[in-house]
């Protein structure tokens, strides 16, 4: 075995391995890096958070700006508290922003959509969004439709 060829092939393998890892970073994951070091937490109270769970996307104008951390019940208000982490660079959500639970496609997953209001002041770590719209529950929708249909 030629020593030069041996060293060369080992070198090639190392380069190929590292290159593959770089390709996985750029081409496959598209440079997606989660766990943004600077992110801040906000929460929102919903009448109904059916179908929403941890890791669900938080979007604004269709662009992901954070993710849901947990969904719990607020024992005082008897409403669902959705805790969210928002990326640090998204620091322009006004305090009168509204949150709604939306569905990706007819049968797709639930996610939170944020809409920015008109106020100058912005949401900071620990703030709560008051203005919310709950999840659409298909069964309730059909029930209402049938009720209206019966009235006519």
């Amino acid at each position: 075995m030629n020593k030069r060829w041996l060293e060369l092939s080992v070198g090639l393998m190392m380069v190929a391995g590292v290159a593959a890892l770089v390709a996985l970073a750029l081409q496959v994951s598209g440079g997606n890096m989660s766990r943004n070091a600077q992110s801040y937490a906000i929460s929102a109270l919903f009448e109904n958070a059916a179908g929403l769970g941890p890791k669900a996307k938080v979007t604004m104008a269709g662009v992901t700006v954070g993710e849901v951390v947990s969904v719990a019940i607020d024992p005082n208000a008897l409403m669902a508290v959705v805790n969210m982490e928002i990326y640090g660079q998204v620091d322009y959500l006004s305090i009168d922003s509204s949150a709604s639970i939306l569905t990706a496609g007819l049968l797709g997953e639930k996610y939170v959509g944020l809409t920015v209001g008109a106020e100058e002041e912005v949401l900071v770590d620990g703030d709560v969004i008051e203005d919310t719209q709950s999840a659409l529950v298909l069964e309730e929708l059909i029930g209402q439709f049938l009720l209206n249909f019966g009235d006519n």
Partner: protein, 260 residues
């Protein structure tokens, strides 16, 4: 009954003693100041352990990626969501199949060869003869092989993932007509570098440790006869495969199961 318990106890104690021995051997072999010549020995072993495993890794990665592309396509096409095939192929490979399959192949290809080689050196008294020349066989023989395993497998796993994803692309996009943009686009949206790719690499590193450790220990402690070496080689493959699958479950639960 008492005998049974006593046997069980002494059996368990024996296992613990062996694990302790293996750990001490590893510490003695690896905690040492490297010499200039150890680097060229490491290169030599990287060739034997890493480069010579490349072919089997490349071929299996290509076929596994193609099968995933085909299976994913037929499954997802039933719901009209065949665009998601890229995401399915990539996540399956990066999180699970690349580390596990590459590690199992590595155990069969490189682990068994390491055990057999060290065992044969023991049987032909090469280890004893090194000792008589004042050279510690743990440093000379065991350490470079152990490190070569630790370095090679993560690289092979990264190559495995990438080749597999292109194999899936070949079937899903080039043959079955999924739009190339959605193949990559969906994948890029779904795959997270830290959460998926790096966790897969952590798995690879853990498996590399398990395989290399098992292989050098079995070789170094085998009974130096032809039956002894063949039994040790079998044990390397069986023990490291079981360890890979067991640890894969634990690691998966830690990495991806935490939110449930």
């Amino acid at each position: 009954m008492i005998n049974l318990i006593a046997d069980l106890g002494s059996g368990l104690l024996g296992k613990l003693v062996r694990i302790g021995q293996a750990l001490l051997m590893l510490l003695q072999a690896t905690i040492v100041r490297p010499k200039a010549s150890s680097f060229s020995r490491l290169i030599q072993q990287l060739y034997v352990v890493g480069v010579q495993s490349l072919i089997i890794i490349l071929v299996s990665a290509l076929f596994i990626g193609m099968v995933l592309g085909l299976q994913g396509y037929t499954l997802l096409a039933a719901y009209g969501t065949e665009q998601a095939v890229g995401q399915m192929v990539a996540l399956t490979l990066v999180r699970e199949l690349s580390p596990v399959v590459a590690a199992l192949l590595f155990a069969g290809r490189a682990g068994s060869a390491l055990t057999a080689e060290i065992g044969l050196m023991k049987a032909t008294e090469q280890l004893a003869s090194l000792e008589m020349f004042g050279v510690d066989p743990l440093h000379r023989i065991v350490a470079p092989r152990f490190w070569a395993g630790i370095i090679s497998l993560p690289l092979l796993v990264a190559i495995f993932s990438l080749v597999g994803i292109y194999g899936g692309h070949l079937v899903a996009v080039d043959w079955l007509g999924v739009y190339s943009g959605s193949y990559w686009g969906n994948m890029q949206q779904a795959v997270d570098f830290n959460g998926d790719v790096l966790n897969g690499m952590v798995k690879a590193l853990v498996f590399a440790f398990l395989i290399s450790w098992t292989a050098v220990y079995q070789g170094y402690t085998c009974v130096p006869t032809s039956q002894g070496i063949s039994a040790a080689t079998t044990r390397t493959v069986v023990y490291s495969s079981l360890a890979i699958l067991g640890f894969d479950f634990i690691l998966t639960a830690l990495m991806f199961g935490g939110t449930v």
